[in-house]
């Protein structure tokens, strides 16, 4: 159980400008004793995790550790998967989003999501942004202004302002992903979940998304799943490390949360041997 500051190689040291994560977190979401099942298979077990308001939290860990599963549970996207079941409580502003009277559609409006592969609708750039406000029946003074505002916040406006009526599929991968972020912003969520948003992007497009995340955290709470440890170190205020462990009985591997702390602490002073092995590249 080394706790030396040399645990992480130099390039993995937390370097983000915002990593002065306040010791006191103002939680906007709380995950309490959550198990997620797919049918009989328990994908993650007993996760306890809080997400701080206007912070960026990274979920890292090897494949199959359940980080994406947890992410999808946070806005009830798991509902769309046959047989998926969440036990425990996930509270948003203190209210259990798996409560009896909760409308999952309203949950998804307040907690937006950006996916691994950019998935713009095969519509115009404008209609991509206007889609969310239209389907949720949002009262909008001027749709044009909302589209401009969303695209500006996603740092895409200048690149697309002259071709709003053109298909979103004509954009580059990085632009498409920023469009998807703009689309998520358009319904004014409090939280944005990002499932490996840069996995299919080149390093320059990745850097732009990371810069964008730093701007967005002024107004939104961000939870990001990433395979890329440098990325977690660069962008996140706090980091949660998950791993997969063979469960008793059968050979299934169940994901669990190993360690959660400020990004600086996780990368420079990991308390758990498994965390240390993972971030120093000895495992995973």
């Amino acid at each position: 159980m080394s706790s030396s500051a040399d645990a992480a190689p130099m390039h993995l040291r937390a370097t983000g400008q915002h990593q002065v994560a306040p010791e006191v977190m103002r939680p906007i979401m709380e995950v309490e004793n959550v198990d997620v099942y797919y049918g009989d298979f328990r994908a993650v077990s007993e996760v306890n995790l809080d997400f701080g308001l206007n912070e960026i939290t990274a979920l890292i860990g090897p494949s199959g550790c359940g980080k994406s599963t947890i992410l999808r549970s946070l806005n009830r996207m798991n509902d769309l998967i046959e047989g998926a079941r969440v036990e425990g409580e996930i509270r948003f502003h203190g209210e259990n989003i798996y409560g009896k009277d909760v409308d999952p559609i309203e949950v998804r409006r307040r907690i937006g999501m950006v996916f691994q592969k950019p998935n713009p609708f095969p519509k115009s750039i404008y209609d991509n942004i206007a889609y969310g406000p239209r389907v949720t029946g949002m009262k909008v003074q001027s749709m044009d202004d909302l589209v401009e505002d969303s695209l500006t916040r996603a740092a895409l406006w200048d690149e697309v302002k002259d071709k709003l009526k053109q298909s979103a599929l004509g954009l580059s991968g990085g632009q498409q992903q920023r469009l998807c972020i703009a689309r998520a912003i358009s319904v004014r969520p409090d939280v944005i979940l990002m499932d490996e948003p840069c996995a299919s992007l080149d390093p320059i497009a990745t850097m732009r998304i990371e810069d964008l995340m730093q701007e967005l955290r002024e107004h939104y709470t961000i939870v990001i799943v990433t395979h890329n440890m440098q990325q977690a170190a660069r962008v996140a205020d706090r980091t949660a490390f998950f791993t997969a462990q063979p469960s008793e009985g059968n050979g299934d591997r169940t994901g669990l949360l190993v360690e959660y702390g400020t990004t600086a602490q996780i990368f420079e002073d990991p308390q758990d041997k498994r965390t240390e092995d993972y971030i120093s590249g000895r495992f995973g």
């Binding site: 996207m77 937006g112 996916f115 713009p120 609708f121 599929l169």
Partner: protein, 297 residues
Amino acid sequence: MFAGRARPGEAVIKVVLRVAAAVAMVTTIGIVFALIVPAIGFFREVPIFDFLLGDRWAPRFADASFGVVPLVTATLWTTAIALLVSVPLGLGAALLLSEYATPGLRKTLKPILEILAGVPTVVYGFFALQFVQSTVFREWLRLDTGAFSVLAAGLVMGIMIIPTVASISEDAMSAVPMSLRQGSAALGANRMQTSLRVVFPAALSGIMAAIVLGISRAVGETMIVAIAAGSQARIVGGPLEQGQTMTGFIASAALGDSRVGSLEYNTLYAVGLLLFAITLTVNFISIRLVRRFRQAY
């Protein structure tokens, strides 16, 4: 170092595939020729405008008249009624199967639809004539209609076409990537909104293809209309009237003993050519529409 190795199997496969493609093409060209040659003989004797615009169809009378409009009106009625039935129900079934049904429900519903597609059209014809027209329309509803009606034929034809429309548009909807549905759901759209505003437009070209195929089948369907729509070639003014469609005429006249090369014989081909032209036009228009409105993913 990279010297080529002969691959005789590849060459054989190429030839086989080309032959398969050629058979389809040659057949189409052959059909067009077989239609055009007698039709030219027909138009030597009957001016084309008398044929297309004339409102009296009496090819076998002493004072023969070859105005095709009555046949076209009957075809339009039966086709329109069939589409009013098959497009909404077919698309609804497709939407159910692709967006709403659990795997279990899908496993039950698809075979039922396929059974519907497997019923011989002559059975549908008698169903239209005996049950729909005679029992339902005349006995139960006491409608003011005769032994035949374009409504009965059109309705039953519509039911027959449902599986075609449903199965092709379901394929198109199922092919829309899951990621688009997830993206829509993540924005707070419900399932119906996702289906209608994301899946439907993205699958539009396949859906249009399904509708066009439905139209082609309705225009070309013969047995049901020959049995249930009627056999008198008069302009059809309402759905409860009887009427002979273009295909209905071809079926009844082809049973007769018209001599090869006679005007009566050539008449069949003129009507057949018109049928072919209508189907082709529908195809072209729909391809254009699809190019314009489709949302390729």
